[in-house]
């Protein structure tokens, strides 16, 4: 079975080929490169599934395939050489993620046929090429076997995101949004790269897995109580872990680097679905999961992750409440949901985090594609206040979208409920010991309410009530290529939860937590990259409110209650024939919420109010002072020249006089030195 792994590189290479094909021949091809993309991603999907099966059959794959650079570098812990390589690591986590990514990519490619091609877009080859490049980078990132390789493809997906957000480059807003997206994430990546460099310089390796992985090295360093770059080993690990976290926060749009994601909605909705909901944004969280062992070594780092996650979850949810643009709502919900995943990982809920990552990938992709469908229906109108009543006109869209919404809101039995609930549960049991985690838990819990509210506000405004515009009266019709992906994802949104019915398992004492076993390497696993292995590293105490089962019930109950009440409120307010905005009820909070807590303002201010004036000042300084000195030298010498040549008066008698004077001067000097006058 393991020989299938020899095809592992192809998973990423197919889309790369598609990229080249679409870029070069795209404009001559029937579907402008779409077919190449579909075939490639299809192939990747098939191979990924094969990998999944292979792993299920107990195999794992960890090979170094290509040597990028080797050299001598005395690392802090004494290793004196280092290799930077490209390699593939396929373990349960990677295999799972491969399937998710290739599946979504495949579906999005198909969807694009209806969304882009049918709409007669120009520049389709560019579009499909970018998609192909993205899929390639993302898949390569997923099964990267070392941190540097991960970083490199982490950057590349950023590039693709830039290109795709700016797809409609003839507008003013899209390029600006693209720039912002790249810059903000780049700011995070700065810390990431610093972290990579630091880890490489510290441990002389950047491998994720194996005995010579930096995780193992860090562990032993902590055990030996080494001093690394003048810090205690654990402190240093924390520092480097947090540096890497910078990249995570940037990519996964966590506070305070979340501001780019809403703007990123300037891109085609398909792109939003693939990149800015399901996969690229997940890269950050995935990275944390990938090197979870490293974070597990540092309680501080974990606590920070958890808190940031919890805070972001609430923070973003509140902003989603007041948005009128359907994609904006989804954007903020995405931020919020990734907050949950961070929280889950932060509290050591490795399985929960990954679980939610998977579910979210499905239902958020679904929701975005659904939104895309709605936008097609609405002749590219995105304001929910202009929609309404689409329920009957586009049933498939409606029901799939509803499935996604229920999952997002966390309504049992939809997938979102299970994963979110598990996260909250994990947070709770830790929180009972750690107050800061408890705070994070509280915020996340509160966010559940808002999630339910904005989700169903969106649903009701879009699909229920009376049509509020002639576009809504007679919607544009949509083809199979749009419907099919929606159905597939809709089903997944409904059933994906089965993968890990933890509460049920705990209550009914039956062993149905497949995902947990999966990630715990019961089928196949790489040494040290298993849930239980991480568990040993974790330093968290857990506590229960009167027994485990009770705690489970309480946790699930509370979150469900909140979700329902949020949804109920939305139903109360908006599920009416003629819904009206209720924002004024928010009073003072409204302005703050609508302007997103002035996050963009201060970041823009940092860029335009601080940096640019600084740059201009530097430029003035350069022009006047530094260059001024240079020029003044020449000016001075030319001036002195024009003065000096005046002694050549043209009067020969002056010459004689000057000559004699000069001679006497020389005489005096020599005479003085030679002492002739003494």
């Amino acid at each position: 079975m393991e020989d299938v792994f020899n095809y592992a590189p192809a998973i990423a290479l197919f889309p790369l080929v598609a990229f080249v094909v679409a870029l070069t021949f795209g404009k001559y091809m029937p579907k402008k490169g779409a077919l190449a993309g579909i075939i490639a991603t299809g192939g990747s999907l098939a191979l990924s599934v094969l990998m999944l099966v292979a792993v299920a059959s107990g195999e794992v794959y960890h090979e170094t395939l290509y040597q990028w650079a080797i050299g001598d570098a005395a690392s802090e812990i004494g290793a004196d050489g280092i290799e930077f390589t490209f390699g593939i690591l396929i373990d349960p986590l990677a295999a799972l993620m491969l399937v998710i990514v290739s599946l979504i990519a495949f579906l999005v490619h198909i969807f694009s046929l209806g969304y882009m091609n049918a709409e007669g877009e120009t520049g389709l080859p560019r579009y499909y090429a970018s998609l192909g490049l993205f899929t390639f980078s993302m898949l390569a990132f997923v099964y990267a076997d070392n941190l540097l390789m991960a970083f490199m493809f982490f950057e590349l997906v950023g590039l693709c995101s830039y290109l795709l957000i700016g797809f409609w480059f003839r507008t003013r807003s899209a390029p600006s949004a693209a720039k912002k997206a790249f810059l903000v994430t780049r700011f995070g990546d700065y810390f990431f790269l610093l972290g990579v460099v630091a880890i490489a310089a510290t441990f002389g390796t950047v491998a994720f897995a194996g005995d010579n992985s930096f995780i193992a090295a860090a562990e032993s360093a902590i055990d030996n109580g080494d001093t690394l770059f003048g810090f205690g080993a654990e402190t240093w690990v924390t520092i480097t872990a947090l540096l890497v976290l910078g990249g995570v926060i940037g990519k996964s749009a966590q506070f305070p680097l979340h501001t780019w994601l809403p703007d990123a909605m300037e891109g085609p909705t398909t792109v939003s679905a693939l990149i800015h909901a399901a996969t690229m944004v997940a890269a950050g969280v995935y990275l944390v999961a990938r090197m979870f062992g490293y974070y597990a070594l540092s309680p501080t780092a974990l606590a920070i992750i958890a808190f940031v996650g919890g805070f972001t979850a609430l923070f973003a949810a509140t902003m989603g409440v007041v948005k009128d643009d359907i994609k904006q709502v989804l954007a903020y919900s995405t931020i919020s949901q990734y907050g949950y995943m961070m929280l889950g990982l932060g509290v050591g809920g490795y399985v929960a985090g990954v679980f939610h990552l998977m579910n979210h990938a499905f239902f958020k992709a679904l929701l975005f594609l659904g939104a895309g469908a709605v936008i097609v229906l609405m002749h590219h109108e995105q304001d929910m206040w202009k929609m309404g009543g689409l329920k009957d006109k586009a049933p498939i869209t409606y029901y799939t979208f509803l499935a996604g919404a229920l999952a997002l809101a966390g309504i049992i039995p939809f997938s979102g409920f299970w994963s979110k609930d598990e996260i909250l549960y994990d947070a709770l049991i830790i929180g009972l010991e750690e107050p800061i985690i408890l705070a994070a838990y509280a915020m996340a819990l509160l966010a559940v309410f808002f999630t339910g509210f904005y989700t169903f506000r969106m649903v009701f405004l879009t699909f229920h009530g009376e049509p509020r515009s002639e576009a809504a009266e007679d919607p544009h019709d949509i083809g199979w290529s749009i419907k099919a992906p929606l159905v597939v994802l809709g089903v997944l949104a409904l059933v994906a939860g089965i993968a890990n019915l933890a509460p049920v398992a705990k209550l009914a004492q039956i062993d149905i937590t497949f995902l947990e076993h999966w990630l715990d390497g019961e089928y196949g696993a790489v040494e040290g990259l298993t849930y239980s292995a991480y568990g040993e590293l974790l330093a968290y105490e857990t506590a229960y409110i009167g027994g485990e089962q009770l705690t489970v019930l309480i946790a699930a109950g509370v979150s469900l209650l909140l979700a329902f009440s949020g949804a109920g409120l939305a139903w109360k307010l908006y599920s009416v024939p003629e819904p009206v905005a209720h924002k004024e009820r928010l009073g003072g909070a409204r302005q703050t919420l609508e302007s997103n807590y002035y996050q963009d303002e201060y970041q823009v201010w940092l860029a335009e109010g601080v940096t640019q004036p600084l740059a201009r000042a530097a430029d003035r300084f350069d022009q006047t002072v530094i260059d001024g000195v240079v020029n003044s030298v020449s000016t001075a010498s030319l001036f002195s020249s024009s003065r000096l040549k005046r002694i050549q008066t043209g009067l020969v008698t002056n010459y004689a006089a000057l000559l004699v004077a000069g001679f006497i001067g020389l005489l005096l000097v020599l005479g003085y030195v030679g002492g002739w006058f003494l």
Binding site: S634, S637, L638, S640, S641, S642, L644, K645, Q648, G650, V652, Y655, A656, L658, L659, A661, G662, F663, G665, L666, L667, V669, L670, G671, V673, G674, G675, W676
Partner: protein
């Protein structure tokens, strides 16, 4: 090489040949007084100087002057040591002959329709003879005579354009300053004679080394140190005049600007070189550093250090903002005099032969690049395009070859590779450093930066600037072009082929300082 068979006086052949050619010209002129056959005259002059050049080179190759221990033929002295022919002498005879030849060829076109051609060429040759003799003169008497023999025709040559106010003014100023300087010079000679009782260089040296004057009951030389010092200083004045060094340079800008361009080339290259050769000879032979210093209480090199710095600075700074190309070149040649003076300034220190050798190389390369530059001005005057930088604008379009040569001369003067000027300038820099003349070296850096400005300014004018006036195609006078091209080719070729020059120069210097 049947040289030994020749009588000793033939060692002076390079100089004598020049004199003979002058005579020949007189004969030609007296046969056909009002002939304008400039071809014949210029040809004769060129031929004579080329023969003289050939002989000088032949002697050098034959090993005249190289110490017999090195398989050479040793130094040959003539007329009871009034003249000596050694490598130094031959080296400078070569320079003089080269410049003369170039000037003669160039003058063929420049003086084409000039009345007094025979006079012109014979004067050139007489001056050249004087300079050639200066190279060999070995006694203050012969030095003074040779120097005057070089000067007097020069005065006449500068003012040979009788109806050209500039030429006459130049001649006048040159002459007046010259007369004054030679008076000072000869007075200096008298004082040295008074102090030592000798006019022949090595005898003077002998007295100074002995530390006492034998002829009169033997009193200490130090007693007359002031007298000797003043005399030496006045001698320096004489050389400074000939080499156009501050403060005796005042004649140079006007003389070079006013004189016919070939003459400017002649004076600024050959005459300057001649001035330096006597300075080298006198100060290496007659006034051995240490003893003289003990006698007059001061190292005379100090005077040259001061002169070098002041001269190069004044020359370059004054040149930087000139508008008249010829005048700019005049000042630049003052600046180069300053560079060459480093050779004398550094003699006293260890490794003096390197400095002096470098200075000699510089004068050699200078003989090509500076002559070439002035000849280009001659060409411009021949075309009648005007005298200022603006007038030169865009010449590169019309006369690419000449302007290419000009670029070569300018960059070579600026000491930028891949051109001959690079070696000599950087060897001077190197020598100055080894001699420990850090101040001088620093001055050299500053000045060469400034010189870059005005040299490139001329290149800019001919190659970069747009022509101010649209001019029809320019004629291509054979002689001028030939001279310029030859000079340019030599300047270029001296980069790879600099070895022999460097060897000869350093050997000569070593021999003098030995």
């Amino acid at each position: 090489m049947a040289l030994l068979e020749l009588p000793a006086w033939t060692a002076l052949a390079p100089a004598l040949l020049l004199a003979l050619t002058a005579m020949a010209l007189f004969i030609i002129d007296s046969i056909a007084p009002d002939s304008r056959n400039s071809g014949l005259l210029a040809g004769t002059t060129a031929a004579g100087s080329i023969v003289s050049l050939g002989v000088a080179v032949w002697y050098l190759l034959a090993g005249v002057g190289t110490p017999t221990v090195d398989g050479g033929r040793g130094v040959i002295d003539v007329l009871g040591n009034q003249f000596v022919v050694d490598q130094l002498a031959l080296f400078f005879m070569v320079i003089v002959a080269v410049v003369t030849a170039l000037v003669a060829v160039a003058s063929y076109d420049y003086m084409e329709d000039h009345t007094y051609q025979a006079e012109y060429y014979s004067l050139v040759l007489l001056a050249a003879t004087g300079m050639s003799f200066m190279a060999a003169a070995n006694s203050l008497v012969t030095i003074f005579i040779a120097l005057e023999l070089a000067s007097l025709p020069s005065y006449a040559l500068v003012s040979i354009l009788k109806d050209n106010r500039g030429s006459v003014e130049a001649g006048l100023k040159y002459f007046l300053i010259g007369a004054l300087s030679s008076a000072i010079f000869v007075y200096g000679i008298s004082l040295v004679y008074g102090a030592t009782g000798h006019l022949q260089l090595e005898n003077i040296a002998a007295v100074i080394e002995a530390g006492e004057v034998a002829s009169d009951g033997g009193h200490e030389i130090a007693d007359v140190g002031g007298l000797l010092g003043l005399g030496i200083l006045m001698l320096i004045g004489g050389f400074a005049f000939k080499t156009a060094s501050v403060p005796f340079h005042f004649w140079a800008p006007e003389a070079y600007e006013g004189a016919p361009a070939p003459i400017s080339a002649f004076l600024s290259s050959a005459s300057k070189a001649a001035g330096f050769v006597i300075a080298f000879r006198v100060f290496t032979e007659a006034f051995p550093v240490a003893e003289t210093a003990s006698a007059i209480g001061v190292d005379w090199a100090l005077a040259f250090i001061i002169l070098a710095i002041v001269t190069m600075t004044l020359g370059n700074f004054a040149a930087a903002t000139q508008n008249n190309v010829k005048r700019m070149l005049a000042y630049s040649s003052i600046g180069h005099a300053g560079y060459a003076l480093i050779g004398l300034a550094g003699i006293s220190a260890g490794g003096g032969e390197l400095v002096m050798g470098a200075a000699m190389m510089h004068l050699f390369v200078y003989g090509f690049m500076n002559t070439g530059a002035f000849l280009f001005v001659a060409l411009a005057e021949y075309w009648g395009v005007g005298r200022t930088f603006e007038d030169y604008n865009g010449l590169g379009r019309r006369a690419p070859v000449a302007c290419f040569a000009l670029a070569i001369f300018m960059f070579s003067l600026a000491g930028i590779p891949p051109l001959g000027g690079f070696w000599s300038k950087y060897f001077l820099f190197t020598g100055a450093l080894e001699a420990g003349l850090l101040v001088v070296a620093a001055a050299l850096v500053i000045n060469s930066a400034l010189s870059l400005y005005y040299y490139s300014r001329l290149v800019k004018a001919v190659w970069i600037e747009e022509p101010a006036v649209e001019r029809e195609t320019l004629s291509q006078p054979v002689g001028l072009y030939a001279a310029i091209v030859v000079a340019a080719v030599m300047t270029l070729a001296l980069l790879p082929l600099f070895g022999p020059v460097a060897d000869t120069a350093v050997d000569a210097a070593t021999a003098m300082l030995a």
